[in-house]
């Protein structure tokens, strides 16, 4: 095991050295399948609900019964319009559904209803922001609509290998997918990763898809090729399928770059083929060669008329689009959040929505951001809960922050009541009142307490006066302890200094 990994490391070093030397340029293109959020399926009125009993959300249409016919779901088209708008794509005013034929048990009709020659929209782009602060525009070749397949459930083993039989669940069959195809314009793993993050966020913001890769709502095929540095001609690509995490995608690309570099370096040729990614070994292997590639025999589906998307329809959908991530980030920067904080919030739409509402309630933006991204995020992580799952509301958080802003409570006190607010939705004002935890802001109240602490610790007073200034903190701590943290820090400092001389 150790031997293998050390050899692997050696190989990596050599490969990395080649890339460092810029012998080859990396070219990456992505095909992203996004599961679209709709109440019903693309061509029938079956409910789109997951986690139901197998084969319950089905009808003659989505199970491919003889004689059943597809009827387009307008809600799916509306979602496709949104996807086109957020990616600046050109919508074909008339686009055509095509049958894509292949045999597989989870494909009830023996063909998928997809789009081929006239896809829903074309020539879009997504701008991505890289770590070094630069931005890059990634072109989208096309986005098309298609219906999803069902699921094969293998019996007797985890996967198909070793299983004794397979069952088919068609609950997912017929749900709406958008296939988003990029130009081969990404040149590093980072770019591919940032593109996917950016696209995912866009889809989530526009509510087109929940885009959760772990739930299979985002499925990505990667095309990787290498070409001599600076060459205008693309090299032969390998298509990699079957990654189910962002990490898997990165590993697959990395493996492909290494594999293809080795082949080219040895004077060989990369085969055009479809490869399968294995999560356990983090490697890819041949699935189908070019010769074995499916001939899908696309032709226009005679059961469906060309889909007409009017300017009016597009304009109507446009009015429903929310603020998009890039605009929101810009707004946060204007609100004096740091780029880091702004991005952090934007990346988490529910939290950013919560933040906006909290600030609208009167809270200071920076404070709201800090509370949300550190303390609250920390508690939620520990409780394995999302914001929406707790009774905490923006109004409550806003109130708490304003209590701090007004000096009614200290940050420290706020922290002690936060947990209660998250757990029970307690009103911070009432929590403070109940526990008597309002800050002590009057000298008359605080001075006697300080005096008693000084009287009780003559030795420390002596040492402090002898020059051990560090002991100042000791007195602060003792006073805070005595006041259960309610002493206003500024006042405490001021009085202590005056008393100790």
């Amino acid at each position: 095991m150790r031997k293998r990994s050390s050899r692997r490391r050696m190989r990596m070093n050599r490969v990395e050295a080649f890339i460092m030397m810029n012998t080859f340029d990396i070219v990456i293109g992505l095909e992203v399948h996004a599961q679209v959020k709709t109440n019903t399926k693309l061509f029938c009125s079956c409910a789109v609900e997951f986690g139901e009993r197998q084969n319950t959300n089905v009808c003659p249409v989505c199970t491919g019964q003889p004689g059943a016919l597809p009827v387009i779901n307008r809600a799916s088209v509306t979602q496709a319009i949104k996807a086109a708008l957020i990616t600046h794509s050109r919508i074909n005013p008339k686009n055509v559904f095509a049958r894509k034929s292949y045999f597989y048990p989870d494909l009830p009709k023996g063909y998928q209803i997809s789009q081929f020659e006239l896809p829903f929209c074309e020539k879009g782009h997504v701008d991505i922001e890289l770590k070094d602060g630069s931005t890059k525009r990634i072109g989208l070749t096309r986005i098309h609509m298609e219906d999803d397949a069902g699921k094969n459930v293998h019996q007797g083993a985890e996967g198909i290998l070793g299983s004794h039989s397979s069952l088919v669940d068609l609950n997912r069959a017929g749900t709406t997918l958008l296939e988003i195809v990029t130009e081969p314009e990404m040149t590093s793993i980072e770019e591919a990763r940032v593109f996917l993050d950016t696209l995912k966020l866009l889809l989530q913001y526009a509510d087109v898809s929940d885009a959760d890769m772990e739930k299979g709502q985002l499925r990505v095929d990667v095309n990787v090729s290498l070409k001599p540095a600076g060459s205008a001609t693309l090299g032969t690509r390998a298509e990699v399928k079957n990654m189910n995490s962002f990490r898997g995608i990165e590993k697959a690309i990395k493996y492909e770059i290494d594999r293809q570099t080795e082949i080219l370096e040895a004077g060989g040729q990369v085969a055009q083929e479809t490869r399968n990614y294995d999560d356990a070994t983090e490697t890819t292997s041949t699935l189908r060669s070019k010769e074995e590639a499916h001939d899908y025999r696309y032709f226009p589906d005679p059961d469906l008329l060309p889909l007409q998307v009017s300017e009016d329809w597009i304009a109507e959908v446009k009015t429903t689009l929310p603020e998009l991530p890039a605009d929101r980030k810009q707004r946060y920067l204007t609100d004096h959040l740091s780029p880091y904080d702004a991005q952090g919030l934007v990346n988490n739409k529910p939290m950013a929505d919560f933040f906006d509402a909290t600030v609208n309630g009167g809270a200071d933006p920076k404070m709201a951001c800090n509370w949300l991204t550190s303390d609250i995020a920390g508690i939620l992580k520990e409780k394995k809960q999302s914001l929406a799952e707790t009774p905490l509301t923006p109004a409550l958080l806003s109130k708490m922050i304003q209590l701090i802003q007004k000096g009614t409570i200290s940050t420290k006190i706020a922290k002690t009541i936060l947990l209660e607010m998250i757990e029970n939705g307690t009103d911070p004002e009432k929590a403070v009142e109940k526990s008597g935890m309002t800050q002590i802001t009057s000298a008359e109240e605080l001075a006697p307490i300080i005096a008693s602490i000084i009287a009780a610790n003559p030795k420390q007073v002596e040492q402090y006066k002898a020059g051990q200034e560090k002991l100042f903190g000791f007195f602060v701590g003792q006073t805070m302890k005595a006041t259960s943290g309610r002493a206003q820090p500024e006042l405490l400092n001021q009085l202590l200094k005056a008393t100790l001389g």
Binding site: G67, L69, R99, G110, F299
Partner: protein, 475 residues
């Protein structure tokens, strides 16, 4: 005259006047079936029990004064490619031998709403692929006019059942002539409505851009009545068209004085038998005598219709029949040990020769590298054919041709010569490619066998066809 040999509109009058009951009528039809079936074999299954129960219900409804449709209580036979909930729907194929439809086709729903009595499902060429019903995996239906001859196809069972008085009405489907050609061979009326006029929802697809459901009846009035029941936009079929559905019976009895009739040269020339031709010419003379103007017209693209059809129809069929894979329903071969073999064996054993031939042709013409040369080119021919018809219809109200080049041929005569079989659809295929309505009506006999006359109309102008057909029939 036995009730079972009467037309639906005659029986409708007898039923509504209380002269007969639906139960009596159904009993007579069932006994006609019992008498005729051994020699005709039009039905794959009859629904004696439910038909009598349904008839009793209609009789009750009538007694209680319920408002009933004109066709309430009238028996109708259904081609076995129309889904009927809880019933077998097999398309006369082994691959669907045990398939029970879980839903009603839209036309079946409409028949049921009209109180019509489903009397049974009829034989057909497997998946509607054929012109003789010899491609049925189940049985060979005989032509009631001459049992040594085919009834035509693919709706041969429905046409034979009407002709043999085994039903009053029947539904068929027409992809390249599958209603009109058997109607012509059996001497009954058959109509293919405009593409989009009748919902295809629940019609087991052969070639989706060509398939259309239509009536097979004893006379033109019955066709009008049945059209009234089955036509109309259906939300479940995206290709059904939202145009007003008239009362088609109001087109009957209108004069044909001044009607402009075109006769395409291409459908009256080589290959048309003399016996057929002379009957058509006599019919044209009769229409002229009724005041119609008759002229010949040329539609040069029709020459390529069969070639285009035998690319487009199999291409669509190859995808439409992909769902019969042994996974979800229907036949699954037991002679398989893995998935690939299951597909291979199931489809090898489940489909008949003609179906396999068309799946192979369709798969081939859609394959990478051949698509442009075949499928795309065929679509262009289709456009040319449509244009020829459009041009002709700027001058004429109706086009007339023989429905078929010959009368019914012998069983087995063309079974091993698919090309000859395909050519027999020369006059009907172009109509499907153009999506037009057309009716075949009996037009005399040649050597004792029925000749069919085809009238082709403008899109959604079934009324003019009915006017002309009725005038000829009554004249």
């Amino acid at each position: 005259m036995a009730l079972s040999s009467k037309s639906a509109h005659e029986l409708s009058a007898l039923l509504s006047s209380g002269t007969i009951t639906s139960v009596e009528l159904v009993r007579e039809v069932l006994s006609a079936i019992t008498a005729q079936e051994p020699s005709i074999q039009a039905f794959l299954e009859t629904y004696a029990e439910s038909a009598l129960a349904d008839a009793a219900q209609v009789d009750l409804d009538r007694e209680s004064g319920k408002l009933l449709s004109p066709l309430a209580g009238i028996p109708i036979a259904i081609k076995d490619n129309l889904c009927c909930a809880g019933r077998k729907t097999t398309c006369a194929s082994n691959i669907l031998q045990n398939y029970v439809a879980p839903y009603d086709a839209t036309v079946i729903e409409r028949l049921k709403q009209a109180g019509m009595i489903l009397i049974g499902r009829t034989n057909m060429d497997e998946f509607a692929m054929g012109s003789s019903t010899e491609n049925s995996a189940i049985q060979i239906t005989k032509n009631p006019c001459d049992p040594t001859r085919v009834p035509g196809g693919s709706s041969g069972g429905s046409a034979a059942a009407v002709a043999a008085n085994e039903t009053i009405l029947a539904l068929g489907s027409d992809t390249g002539g599958s209603i009109r050609q058997p109607a012509a061979f059996c001497g009954v009326v058959g109509m293919k409505p405009t593409y989009g006029r009748v919902s295809r929802y629940g019609l087991v697809a052969f070639a989706s851009s060509l398939d259309q459901i239509g009536p097979l009846t004893r006379d033109v009035r019955d066709t009008a009545l049945l059209l009234n029941t089955i036509c109309g936009k259906d939300e479940k079929d995206s290709t059904s068209v939202d145009v007003p559905v008239p009362d088609f019976t109001s087109a009957l009895g209108k004069p044909v004085n001044g009607l402009k009739i075109g006769v395409p040269d291409e459908l009256m020339g080589a290959g048309i038998s003399e016996g057929v031709k002379s009957n058509i010419l006599k019919a044209l003379a009769k229409l002229e005598s009724l005041g119609a103007h008759v002229e010949t017209v040329s539609l040069p693209s029709l020459e390529h219709a069969i070639a285009a059809y035998y690319i487009i129809a199999p291409a669509e069929a190859s995808a439409n029949l992909a769902r019969y894979d042994g996974v979800k329903y229907g036949f699954r071969s037991t002679a398989a040990s893995d998935l690939r073999e299951m597909y291979f064996q199931t489809r090898s054993e489940g489909f008949g020769m003609e179906v396999k031939r068309r799946i192979l042709i369709g798969t081939y013409v859609l394959s990478a590298g051949y698509y442009d040369a075949y499928y795309l080119k065929a679509q262009k021919v289709r456009t040319l054919i449509l244009r020829d018809f459009q041009n002709a219809f700027t001058k004429y109200d109706v086009l007339i041709s023989p429905t078929t080049p010959t009368t019914a041929f012998k069983i087995g005569e063309k079974a091993n010569d698919p090309l000859q079989m395909y050519l027999s659809d020369i006059a009907t295929i172009p109509v499907n490619l153009a999506g037009l309505p057309a009716i075949s009506i009996p037009c005399g006999t040649s050597d004792g066998l029925p000749v069919g006359l085809q009238m082709i109309g403008k899109p959604f102008d079934e009324e003019t066809l009915l006017t002309a057909a009725y005038a000829y029939e009554q004249g």
